[in-house]
């Protein structure tokens, strides 16, 4: 099966759609893992160095994680 036939199987013939969908899924998942690592790393950093802004840093990292989840949802249902 060639790439054109494979694309047709998933997309009904639109090769651009196939590539946009594939890349958006892959990159959104990568972004999610990056955001997850950031959340974990900020927890570790806040433990190593506790300042009055530690809650703000945790909050922003969680917002980034939620943004990553939203991007995955966009990649799955919107694109």
């Amino acid at each position: 099966m060639g790439i054109d036939e494979l694309a047709k199987t998933f997309t009904g013939g639109d090769i651009v759609y196939f590539f946009v969908k594939a890349f958006s899924l892959v990159f959104s998942i990568m972004y999610f893992f990056y955001a997850l690592v950031m959340v974990r790393q900020i927890q570790v950093m806040n433990k190593a160095l506790s300042t009055e802004r530690k809650n703000l840093f945790s909050l922003i990292s969680i917002i980034q994680l939620l943004l990553a989840v939203f991007i995955i949802l966009l990649a799955v249902f919107f694109v």
């Binding site: 958006s24 950093m45 190593a48 160095l49 990649a75």
Partner: protein, 180 residues
């Protein structure tokens, strides 16, 4: 040193009596000074962020002829999130890359590229020499530079890079070392 008051200068890059705590801090240990890189030394990544946003705007002039609107919306949204993440990870690196001077020791916490952590410590009694270096027109103009702390024997040497007021920092460390 006992009559110092809490004072945060240059967007929290030079904090006297900052009231922060670190993991290995002992109960009777008092943080006297916390230093981060001077805000001026953060300008390159701020410019990078602006260039990335500008490039994204330029790309948007060409995309409508190639892709459907909803693809463009997703690409814009995703790339803008990536740029924000770049901005955010640099702020995190700057905030957590900190030099701490206490009444017992000097601690250098390094987080390079967020995923790598290194904590180096030198006891005040082991410090042999403190050198403040300022080089270049810009660094001299806004007063930032590097403080090199040399310790005795096989103990690790510490470097506080691009910190504000390097001479004042060296003076504070020297006065603490002399007290010991």
């Amino acid at each position: 040193m006992d009559n110092l008051k809490t004072n945060h200068q240059l967007i929290h890059s030079f904090c006297l009596m900052p009231g922060l705590h670190f993991e290995e801090q002992e109960p009777d240990e008092k943080v006297i000074l916390a230093v981060r890189a001077h805000p001026v030394s953060q300008i390159p990544w701020l410019i990078n962020s602006l260039i990335m946003i500008f490039t994204l705007v330029i790309i948007n002039f060409f995309l409508p002829g190639i892709l459907k609107t909803r693809y463009i919306f997703f690409i814009d949204f995703f790339l803008f999130s990536v740029i924000l993440s770049y901005f955010w990870s640099n702020i995190v690196s700057w905030h957590f890359n900190v030099g701490i001077i206490t009444n017992h020791r000097i601690v250098d916490i390094d987080y390079s590229s967020v995923l790598y952590k290194e904590v180096s410590t030198a006891m005040l009694g082991k410090i042999e020499d403190v050198t403040a270096k300022t080089g270049g027109f810009f660094a001299s103009f806004v007063d930032y530079g590097t403080v090199h702390i040399q310790t005795a024997g096989t103990e690790i040497n510490l470097d506080f890079i691009n910190i504000p007021k390097p001479t004042e920092t060296a003076k504070i460390i020297n006065s603490l070392v002399n007290k010991k």
